[in-house]
């Protein structure tokens, strides 16, 4: 047996394992959460820089995305001289690009406004309100009368969802969907549709399509429950 003081001892490693998280500032190593209270200045500096950098990228993307979304929402259908099949495909691809322009902007806003994400951002940027202020001003510079809506569609079939821009509603207003119906009597209505409020005041539209729901186009009105007035239209197109 060697005496402890005779033996050399291995130094501890930097950390016990790899950092796998794609968003490193929110997680620690090997799934262990970062101790937000005892991280130390080095970790906060790194995380703060990462979050601020991400904030600037997101802010730039939001501004660009809003401009793109507005342009695309005004884009017309495919040229009439194309064949019906070609027009259908072109239309679907146009919807794709438009949805990309609109949806991801809403997603970014929704993620950034999640309470946990806000808490991390606020803690790490207490000393510097710049990014928060500039994001707010970006929103102010590009006002939109449309309410922010997140779409969650659960379907095994390819589906197109088209929602007309909704006006900003007071938080007390509870909008609802007055069913989704198709012209063909062989296509039963889609019942699993819900419109709920997000914590940030926007709306979340959740649609569940049954596996046996026939391919068709379904329309429905969005209604202000209090005033009973329609505030928008919802179109769901099941492609096959």
């Amino acid at each position: 047996m060697a005496r402890d003081d005779e033996r050399l001892h291995r130094p501890p490693p930097q950390r016990p394992g790899p950092r796998r998280a794609v968003i490193p500032e929110a997680e620690g190593v090997n799934g262990r959460a970062v101790d937000s209270g005892g991280q130390g200045s080095a970790g906060d500096d790194v995380a703060s820089r990462a979050v601020n950098a991400a904030y600037r990228v997101v802010e730039d993307n939001i501004q660009e995305g809003r401009r793109a979304a507005e342009r695309l929402r005004g884009a017309g259908p495919a040229p009439a001289e194309a064949s019906p099949g070609a027009r259908a495909i072109a239309g679907r691809l146009m919807h794709l690009t438009r949805d990309l322009g609109g949806t991801w902007v809403d997603l970014i806003l929704a993620v950034l406004k999640e309470p946990e994400v806000r808490a991390v951002i606020d803690r790490l940027t207490l000393h510097d309100r710049g990014p928060v202020a500039s994001m707010s001003s970006a929103v102010a510079l590009a006002p939109s009368p449309a309410m922010s809506v997140t779409q969650r569609v659960s379907s095994r079939k390819p589906v197109e969802v088209t929602l007309s821009p909704l006006p900003a509603l007071a938080r007390s207003v509870a909008p609802a969907v007055a069913g989704l119906h198709a012209l063909s009597p062989a296509s039963p209505p889609i019942d699993q549709v819900a419109l709920t409020r997000r914590p940030d005041g926007g709306l979340e539209l959740a649609i569940t399509i049954a596996d046996d729901q026939p391919a068709d186009t379904y329309w429905g009105a969005l209604v202000d429950v209090d005033s009973r007035q329609p505030i928008g239209t919802l179109t769901v197109r099941i492609l096959e």
Partner: protein, 727 residues
């Protein structure tokens, strides 16, 4: 005060991981802080990568060793080794960079077609800027948007390669595409018009047009941030559906295009799966899906059954010998490992997708490392077979003292005459190489050992000249256990008995024996009817799934009259039931005989599908094509028929330390990391450890070696190990 002595490090094993650790600990900037001795069983370094020179200086490998263009760590260190060797004017004609490796961009798979047919398909992957081992720009490796962009670039290139093949088949418009996505990028109106023209039937649905359509989609996807969520998942599913319909209704008419679509399907399913399984937000990254089989996960992520069971996917399983117990009917690969590995392999390579070595791996890799390490003062103790890692008694540990290795027990297989250092290298064509057998002339009682047929690399040959025990604090301070996983239960009995984690690891992390053979032919593949490019192929279910044409190594061999080519084959070798006994000294011979039979059958029954002219009028393999090094020049051989195969090279890699580690679903979490601090003076190194990549390959082994070096010295920094922090 006396200067502190150097820390003595005993490195057990001479494979990629162990040699990497030795290389790191003895860097000039370490200033001699570590006194390293490598203890190696037998006469040569290399472990599973060892090779030797046999008759006519021919290269005899353990199997088919190909380096991938994403092996950033392995190439970086290899290039540093070559550079250091080049500064020594006394260095012999060792290989150097970049002549030691040659890039290869074609990958081939063979797939069943009809009742008894096969068709062969190959894909050419585009060369990428830079060379493997070049410094990476920040964010270059880990950016998911970059992967997405590269995925689409790659798919476009694959489609165009198919398109050029099809162009003679009645296209209404020749390539390249009559419209360009570049002009529409950033302009929604132009984008709408381009899309309408595209789908309006104005152009034949050629590969070029499809490729430009993908570019249009990429223009929209480029703005995607992370994290993502459900609506974008559904959108990706929708895209996959549209692409599939688009291709299937007008384009897929040949097996080649089908395979391209299958690859596209896998890429898109991977992206969908990353979103659907929340891998971007899971702190475990891709480890979170390691309990799934990769193929099952792809299907759950929307891949078609056809794509998930395609020759392309099977080729990945073949590449990693991913068959439990060597059974080809039981493909098993952890999904996180498969996803991470394929992303890195196909979208992270520099230069070429594959890199072949110009000679044996022993010559190209381990001889240069040996030369550099010797010059740095590393000592090599050959013919040292580790028999036990002894732990300090638990009762003797003080409170708070961590367990530690108190001794290392070895069998000395042979001693060198006059107490000299064993000189392991020979020269072939002026280059230092490892011989296929030890130089018995240097050994005490060498002639007798040669007559007895001593096999110093065999687990079942435990004859010894002496024993030796090294003591902690006297003979070593730290230990790097760099043996193969299969050897761990034999040499770490005390650790496994006391440590539940190690016990679990050796039970849950599986290994396969591997079989391999090589044939030297007097005809090249074009003569034999092969119409494709020189490539690495896989797909045949005959026990040797992987094969490659290695004609480029012939000039490095020592033939007076060179054969035209040499073909390498390898694949998993199922274990016998019941398991073999450690005292069964005849086991290696029986298994070698089995591999001989398997190889003959492989050539006889499947060669026609690849090389139609390799068969004679009776439908048998043309055994007369085999080059026998014992045949005098210009003299007909006396051996005929399949008996000529006995002059070729084959081996059953059944030694425990040679077994190939698998990444089966549910197993990766049981790997122990080299960074583990359980034992105060012991770290581990090998592709079987928690390397970050967690798969059996050179890169994984090198990463493990770097981790082991960090475990002992704090260097290199973990963030400098490329890909260690990959999701």
């Amino acid at each position: 005060m006396a200067p502190r002595r150097a820390t003595k490090v005993a490195i057990i094993g001479g494979g990629c991981a162990a040699i990497t650790t030795a290389f790191e600990l003895t860097r000039p900037e370490m200033a001699g802080r570590y006194d390293v001795t490598v203890y190696q069983m037998g006469w040569r370094l290399g472990g599973k990568g060892a090779s030797g020179r046999g008759a006519s200086g021919r290269i005899e490998e353990h199997g088919l060793h190909i380096w991938l263009g994403c092996y950033d760590n392995a190439f970086r260190l290899m290039r540093e080794c070559y550079a250091e060797l080049a500064t020594d004017p006394a260095a012999r004609e060792a290989f150097d960079w970049p002549t030691a490796f040659t890039g290869e961009n074609a990958m081939g798979v063979s797939a069943p077609s009809g009742a008894d047919g096969w068709h062969n398909w190959s894909a050419t992957f585009p060369p990428r800027p830079g060379l493997p081992g070049d410094p990476l720009a920040p964010g270059e490796l880990l950016s998911l948007p970059r992967y997405i962009g590269r995925a689409i670039d790659l798919l476009r290139t694959l489609i165009l390669s198919v398109d050029s093949r099809q162009r003679g088949g009645g296209e209404t418009r020749p390539g390249p595409s009559p419209f360009s996505a570049a002009t529409a990028r950033g302009d929604p109106q132009r984008m709408a018009a381009a899309i309408a023209d595209l789908v309006g039937g104005a152009f034949a649905a050629s590969g070029a047009v499809i490729a430009e359509a993908l570019a249009l989609l990429q223009a929209g996807l480029e703005t995607l941030p992370s994290p993502l969520s459900n609506p974008l998942t559904d959108l990706a599913v929708w895209i996959a559906h549209q692409l599939r319909r688009w291709l299937e209704t007008g384009v897929i008419a040949t097996p080649h295009v089908q395979h391209v679509w299958e690859m596209m399907d896998i890429v898109v399913a991977s992206l969908v799966g990353i979103l659907r399984f929340d891998l971007l937000t899971d702190p475990r990254g891709f480890d979170a899906i390691d309990d799934y089989d990769w193929r099952e996960w792809l299907i759950a992520s929307g891949a078609s059954e056809r794509a998930a069971r395609s020759a392309f996917v099977r080729g990945i399983y073949d590449l990693l010998f991913g068959y439990e117990d060597g059974d080809p009917t039981r493909p098993r690969l952890a999904a996180g490992v498969g996803l991470r590995g394929t992303l890195r392999m196909f979208f992270g390579y520099r230069g070429a997708l594959y890199w072949r070595m110009r000679a044996g791996m022993g010559d190209v890799v381990f001889a240069p490392y040996y030369e550099v390490l010797r010059r740095r003062g590393v000592k090599f103790a050959f013919f040292h077979r580790l028999t036990n890692v002894r732990l300090a008694e638990e009762a003797d540990l003080r409170p708070g003292e961590r367990p530690y290795v108190s001794a290392l027990e070895f069998d000395i297989q042979a001693t060198v005459k006059d107490g000299a250092d064993y000189a392991p290298l020979v020269e072939v064509r002026g280059r230092p190489c490892w011989p296929a057998a030890p130089d018995f002339r240097q050994l005490e009682d060498g002639e007798e050992m040669a007559r007895e047929g001593r096999d110093f690399e065999s687990h079942w040959d435990n004859r010894r000249a002496a024993t030796r025990t090294l003591q902690v604090a006297k003979d070593f301070d730290f230990v790097v256990l760099g043996v193969g996983l299969g050897a761990v239960p034999h040499v770490c009995r005390e650790i496994i008995a006391r440590n539940p984690r190690w016990n679990r690891m050796v039970r849950e992390v599986k290994t396969n024996a591997i079989q391999a053979f090589q044939v030297w032919l007097d005809h090249d593949l074009q003569d034999l009817g092969w119409t494709g490019e020189h490539l690495i192929g896989s797909g045949f279910r005959m026990g040797f799934e992987g094969w490659a044409d290695m004609a480029h190594t012939i000039p490095e061999e020592g033939w007076t009259q060179s054969p035209k080519t040499v073909l390498y084959f390898c694949g998993p070798l199922p274990d016998p039931l019941p398991p073999v006994d450690d005292e069964d000294a005849d086991y290696p011979r029986r298994r070698n005989d089995e591999v001989f039979q398997n190889a003959v059958m492989r050539l006889r029954e499947t060669a026609r599908h690849l090389w139609p002219k390799a068969m004679d009028a009776r439908g048998d393999f043309r055994w007369d094509m085999l080059r026998d090094p014992a045949d005098p020049e210009d003299t007909p051989s006396t051996k005929t028929g399949e008996a000529r195969f006995s002059s070729q090279y084959w081996r059953a890699n059944v030694n425990p330390t040679d077994r190939y580690v698998l990444s089966t679903p549910g197993s990766t979490k049981y790997r122990v990391s080299p960074l583990d601090m359980t034992y105060d003076n012991l770290t581990i190194a090998g592709d079987w450890t928690e390397t970050g990549l967690n798969v059996g390959c050179v890169e994984s082994a090198v990463m493990s070696g770097l981790l082991a070096a960090h475990a002992l010295s704090g260097a290199p920094l973990l963030e400098d190990i490329v890909g260690y922090d990959h999701p």
